[in-house]
């Protein structure tokens, strides 16, 4: 499961080489941070949880058997750390999207195309932050972790079939949140 380079890196960290560990951190910090940001919806908290995740990775590396990809193992720790944080604060305010069934994707597409690329990215980020944490986490992992449901099955410990259902629901919720945001634009387009 581990590449020769990863194995060498882990051996080096276990011997106490902190420089090797910072190499590992630099490789995975962006995805860990993005996952935490999408799930928690708050930059400070996301940074704190990312730090805690890597501290845990450092201390647990001794027990890492190498039966999964190291990225999978790190994301699992990060995902669980986010869930723990959410449990602590008990609630996260997200938009209640209800049961929306009919989307007009062409209209939403047109409205989005009118925006500058950065603006679009920012809007999608904002909408992701309004989804329930687990949906936001799932979408982030799916679209940044090579769209591999098998990997996500290992990270979240949820069977692939259930993941497909959850992914469908998460997509639907994201579309609903986006539609709510784009309503004004769509109305303007329709004159």
């Amino acid at each position: 499961m581990l590449t020769a380079k990863e194995r060498k890196l882990i051996r080096s960290i276990r011997k106490g080489n902190t420089r090797a560990f910072s190499e590992l951190v630099n490789r995975y910090k962006d995805l860990v941070y993005t996952l935490a940001l999408r799930m928690l919806g708050n930059r400070e908290e996301a940074e704190e949880v990312s730090q805690d995740t890597f501290i845990k990775v450092f201390h647990s590396l001794e027990r890492f058997k190498g039966d999964s990809k190291i990225s999978t193992w790190i994301y699992r720790i990060a995902y669980n750390a986010c869930l723990d944080r959410i449990r602590l604060r008990k609630s996260r305010t997200f938009l209640d999207v209800g049961e929306m069934e009919d989307f007009v994707f062409t209209e939403m597409d047109t409205a989005l195309d009118k925006m500058v690329r950065e603006e679009r990215g920012r809007l999608v980020g904002q909408c992701l932050a309004k989804l329930p944490s687990e949906d936001a986490g799932l979408l982030t992992l799916f679209y940044f972790e090579e769209k591999s449901l098998l990997e996500i099955e290992n990270i979240l410990n949820v069977p692939v079939n259930s993941l497909k259902v959850r992914l469908f629901r998460a997509r639907k919720k994201l579309a609903a949140v986006l539609e709510a945001h784009l309503k004004q634009e769509i109305l303007q387009n329709n004159g």
Binding site: T18, S22, Y33, E47, I55, F103, F105, M108, V124, K172
Partner: protein, 138 residues
């Protein structure tokens, strides 16, 4: 939602998610993290371990208290009872210090002893500051 709409939803979200990019934490994220980890591992190095395990210390302490209570119950505190009566106190120290009676010290010796005493106390704050900065004498 029919199959066609499901397909459209998937395509739409694929496109939308393609617009997002990975976020980066603060620029000094790694440095802060490494500083935290190093501070933690230093703390672990300096954890004081008792020479005797806690259980043994507890047993010894309880044994000592039990023995003390047993002696107290058996013999009491009366100096004329039990083994107390075998102790002969001699609180007269005059014989021990008799050699001091004829002793006189020269001024040089006196100053030397005084200076030694002063320097002895001066080195305590100096040593403390050195150890705070370096953590060790070597």
């Amino acid at each position: 939602m029919d199959e066609q709409q499901k397909k459209e939803l998937e395509t739409f979200v694929d496109k939308v998610m393609g617009e997002t990019s990975l976020e980066s934490p603060s620029p000094d994220f790694t440095e802060k993290l490494m500083a935290k980890i190093e501070a933690q591992s230093q703390q672990q190095v300096f954890v004081a371990q008792p020479l005797l395990p806690r259980k043994l210390l507890t047993v010894l302490f309880l044994g000592f208290v039990a023995g003390f209570v047993y002696l107290l119950m058996t013999y009491g505190l009366d100096p004329n009872q039990g083994w107390f009566k075998n102790i002969h106190w001699n609180l007269d120290f005059s014989n021990t210090w008799r050699w001091m009676e004829g002793y006189t010290a020269s001024k040089v010796t006196l100053y030397a002893v005084l200076l030694f005493g002063v320097l002895f106390f001066v080195q305590i704050p100096w040593l403390k500051r050195y150890l705070d900065q370096h953590g060790t004498l070597s």
